[in-house]
């Protein structure tokens, strides 16, 4: 039971915060799904937040000297260590508040990084921060590859996807391994709150981010972030693709509250994965055999999730 959730009423389309902690003028690609997700995250959190950003697309597009798109305090140190930087900020503010050097008013501490920064090079760092129990939230903006450096594969690149370091060719069909389940790694650390979100379901996303911030202790939100540039999809379809990812069960939406799985959106009439692949050049090369395998595995993973939710 998380007491902070009792009072939380949730965002409604009618009363969305108008403030934009992220300013326009950032250098994101046209139709960037990740910066849109980030915008929603920041709207959910408001102005009383300190952001610790890992190196990556979001960091680059929002901070080209002398411009910053950030209207809230923000720090970027390096690629893998957003969680450690956040740990330092959290520890500092704890002791400074205790000594009366800063006001005791709560300020959310947000660590944000891409899939590579979080699940690959940053895995040690999120693990340590989760285990130590710092009061912060980590948001992973997952565009399923190292996009900022030119679309190289990450542990979160989906099976079969084409990237520059998992190219399909005579001896390869693309990414050969299944997507790394980083939310499950977060759950394994017994942190109070873990969730997945998609920008197509913006209220769900914002509510989850807010809940993650309300939790006392570590929280993790993994957000699906379409990258038209890297995926070879049309910029205008970024939200449509974010919706299809959920409707085809490729990216299920759920929360894990104190170890209990709760499915956010039960997909009773799933669309086939072929619908999802349409219009994404990164999947265009897949043959029937691989698509069937992916469909089977997507179904199996979803079943697993349903069972986890039943057990909870």
């Amino acid at each position: 039971m998380i007491p902070e959730f009792e009072k939380f009423k949730g965002f409604k389309a009618k009363n969305l915060p108008k403030e934009e902690p992220l300013s326009p003028g950032h250098r994101g690609c046209q139709g960037c799904g990740e910066v849109l997700a980030l915008r929603m995250v920041m709207k959910a959190l408001g102005k009383d937040v300190i952001v610790c950003n890992a190196t990556g697309c979001m960091e680059i597009i929002t901070s080209p000297y002398p411009h910053t798109a950030w209207r809230v305090p923000w720090i970027h140190i390096a690629f893998e260590n957003a969680a450690s930087v956040a740990s330092g900020v959290e520890s500092a503010r704890k002791v400074l508040a205790r000594k009366g050097k800063i006001p005791k008013k709560h300020v959310d501490i947000l660590a944000v990084g891409g899939d590579g920064a979080t699940g690959d090079i940053g895995l040690q760092f999120i693990s340590g921060a989760f285990e130590r129990g710092h009061d912060f939230l980590y948001v992973c903006l997952d565009n399923e590859a190292y996009m900022n450096t030119g679309v190289q594969r990450s542990g979160c690149t989906p099976y079969g996807a084409m990237t520059t370091t998992s190219p399909p060719g005579k001896k390869s069909f693309g990414q050969v391994t299944w997507k790394k389940n980083v939310p499950a790694i977060a759950v394994a650390h017994n942190i109070p709150y873990v969730a997945t979100a998609s920008p197509a379901y913006f209220l769900d996303l914002m509510n989850k981010v807010k809940k993650a911030a309300l939790v006392k202790g570590p929280a993790y939100v993994h957000i699906y972030s379409p990258c038209p540039t890297g995926w070879g999809s049309a910029g205008e379809r970024s939200i449509e693709i974010s919706r299809l990812a959920v409707e085809t069960k490729v990216f299920p939406l759920y929360e894990v509250i104190e170890g209990r799985y709760i499915i956010s959106r039960k997909i009773t009439k799933p669309k086939p994965v072929t619908e999802y692949f349409k219009g994404q050049r990164r999947f265009r090369h897949l043959d029937e055999e691989h698509i069937e395998y992916i469909q089977r595995k997507v179904d199996a993973e979803y079943e697993k999730l349903l069972r986890l939710a039943e057990m909870s």
Binding site: A13, L16, K18, E20, L22, S23, P24, G25, H26, R27, G28, Q30, G31, C32, G33, V35, L36, R39, T62, S63, P64, Y65, P66, H67, T68, A69, W70, R71, V72, P199, F202, A234, G235, E236, R237, S238, I239, E240
Partner: protein
Amino acid sequence: MANSDAIVGWKTITFGCHILEPGNAANFRTGDWRSQRPVVDKEKCIKCGMCWVFCPDMAYNQDEEGYFVVDLEYCKGCGICAHECPKDAITMVPEEG
């Protein structure tokens, strides 16, 4: 993204390269990147705000009547708003020139 704002000397560059003016990226006209722009048909528009919600560039603002108006300073012409509008009230038209 070269811009003349960055021409500073070592004596005048900010301490630690920190940027002290929050949100000053708003001085940068990303609207110049556009090759198409959204046009809203007010007859069809139901003021649901989805265009505003789904804009990655914070380029929509609500006017006094409640309609959402695009800010051409920043709109990159991605077309998400037109694609998502539940009433098909937005059309992307090519930029002249």
